[in-house]
Symmetry: C2
Subunit: 100 residues, 2 copies
């Protein structure tokens, strides 16, 4: 009974996260995402997965594995974009005196 | 030990959800939200809360209570806006022949 409710909850929250996650991964657009908030979210989902394993809860293990996989891909994209933006900003600030 | 990990996970995922949720509630802007996806998410969180109560898991009860409260407020805003948009569309379509 409780596993049925857990699996229903897992299906609903995971499916509701899917379209937006897949769109971010497909388009590679991460500018609407906060790096700190997403790092917190991804670490939190990893924590829920470990907690689910410790409780032996199948719904928690399934839901958090899928979410962790997608969230990690999005976080990796976001980190890459943030580093690129930083590198670009550094190029601009060092080249500015030469250009002016 | 497992409760410590669960509480850490609860704090991280709930805190990462807070800024965006509070911004939506404060500004009342829900146009970036899909009604169906948010209804699924809110129902799913309610399911996780019931599942957490059945398991007697404090971290799940705390995290999902806070998230359910915020998600319900956002869903209510979204439903209100969707109904207003529908009413406005109906007004336009019936008034159009009179205006032209």
């Amino acid at each position: 009974m409780s596993d049925m409710i857990g699996l229903m909850a897992a299906a609903l929250t995971t499916l509701s996260f899917l379209p937006q996650a897949l769109m971010v991964i497909r388009t590679g657009r991460t500018d609407g995402i906060s790096l700190i908030m997403y790092a917190m979210f991804t670490t939190g989902v990893a924590g829920w997965l470990v907690y689910g394993i410790l409780l032996g809860s199948l719904p928690m293990i399934v839901a958090n594995s899928v979410t962790l996989l997608l969230a990690s891909m999005i976080l990796a994209l976001k980190v890459r974009h943030s580093l690129q933006a930083k590198a670009q900003a550094a190029t601009f600030s060092t080249s500015a005196p030469i250009a002016s």
